[in-house]
Amino acid sequence: MSVRHGLLALLSQGPSYGYQLKVEFERRTGDSWPVNVGQVYNTLDRLERDGLIERGETDGDGHVFYAITDAGAAEARAWLEGPVVRGAAARDELAVKLALAVTLPGVDPEAIIHAQRVATIRSLQELTRSKAAGGDPDSPEEFVWQLVVDALIFQAEAEVRWLEHSEARIRRLQARSGSGGADGGATASASRPVSAEPPATTTASAR
């Protein structure tokens, strides 16, 4: 997502000006995504250039109002109603780090899992604590804030589950390959796709 879509969605409710859009965006997202006014003005310029909004009147206080165009309204609706497609999971830094750790000799993937689990659970505890300390969930501000916190909580939970799943898989692999080898036995040597040696030793790629 971009601030662009958020602003477009707000403008689909009626004309507004930069500072008001910043305040509304933050309020309606539970202050989970602070934006600065400069960023809002830049985005408005680009939306205007793309024909999605139009510059309208300036009020007595010098606020420049923007109104959504038909093309902008269509884009806002398409964004709100369409599913969010996330970037390739394969590029997740943690997954890549663990994948590398499993294949590199001398790196202990279980140590990486432990360290990550402690860090992720600690942030899960902090999120839970701030949620527990939150105010009345019936107020709209608190409600949207809790929605956003819940998203972070469920993401962190999913990461912990994936870490535990990976740990169990790695241990099982080690047990099967009878590991415990010279490099400390932590890596799953049988599964190493390539040697970490420089390619000069051609035998390494024979596998």
């Binding site: 432990h114 360290a115 689990r117 402690v118 860090a119 992720t120 659970i121 600690r122 899960l124 505890q125 999120l127 839970t128 604590r129 527990a132 909580i153 469920f154 962190a156 939970e157 912990v160 589950r161 535990e164 169990a168």
Partner: protein, 245 residues
């Protein structure tokens, strides 16, 4: 023998607790030298793979099983030294236990299951019943109080078991997967309730597979093959990362 005086705020302590089931070649080591302490106002979560010793630890902490070695101290009382009557009183008044398989009495209604421990402790029937209905309200089961366990869903039975564990102001709550049969919203209701009991001065252990629920605890202890492998605290900036060996 000289025994260390237990701190006043400490509700539960496990000292070097080990548990071996069976003997000889078939013996299973379920716990190997576990130390654990729970203070008033503290909730400790236990996580770990299936078979890592979580339920064993909980039943030992609740005095339901005597460990092969090591000591368990509840509210200053060494369980090994406790007379049967003392042990029974601790179980009735201090301890609230949520079993992994609920353990409800099939011939009693939900509210009777919850009020039973109070009546056994000498409460008047009407007062026990009122307290039981209050506890069922906390787990959002007001409309199921007269149902028998067989007529309740798994998650509803689990909530009856939770109400039974917190009724009458128990100070040490030991819960084995108390949210295992619950959807995530109902699980959160239960966790909030448990947390508020703890904040009011009780202490507790929560066994769970779910990190989202463990995160309600002040400390999270990970068990692997009967040992504590690492521990995450809520307040300390430092998390202990011990090597299991």
């Amino acid at each position: 023998m000289s025994r260390e005086r237990i701190g006043a705020s400490e509700l539960l302590r496990l000292d070097a607790v080990s548990m071996h089931y069976g003997a000889g070649e078939n013996s299973v080591t379920a716990l190997a030298g576990v130390d654990l302490s729970v203070k008033r106002g503290e909730l400790v979560a236990i996580m770990g793979a299936s078979g890592s010793g979580k339920s064993t630890l909980l039943t030992i902490a609740g005095g339901l099983v005597t460990p092969t070695s090591g000591e368990v101290v509840i509210d200053g009382q060494y369980l090994r030294d406790a007379k049967p009557a003392q042990l029974a009183a601790i179980r009735r008044r201090t301890l609230g236990f949520v079993f992994q398989d609920f353990n409800l009495v099939p011939a009693l209604t939900a509210v009777e299951n919850v009020s039973l421990p109070l009546e056994l402790d000498g409460w008047k029937r009407s007062k026990a019943r009122r307290a039981a209905l209050d506890a069922l309200h906390l787990v959002e089961l007001d409309d199921r109080s007269e149902h028998f366990p067989d007529d309740l869903s798994g998650g509803q039975q689990q909530r009856v078991a939770i109400a039974r564990a917190v009724v009458g102001g128990r100070t040490l709550i030991l819960a084995d997967e108390p949210t295992g049969a619950l959807d995530s919203q109902t699980g959160e209701v239960v966790l909030r309730m448990l947390r508020s009991r703890i904040d009011e001065g009780a202490g507790g252990i929560l066994v769970t597979h779910d990190a989202r629920h463990a995160a309600w605890a002040d400390r999270i202890v990970f068990l692997r093959d009967g040992r504590v492998v690492d521990e995450t605290r809520r307040d300390d900036a430092s998390a202990l990362l011990a090597t299991g060996a």
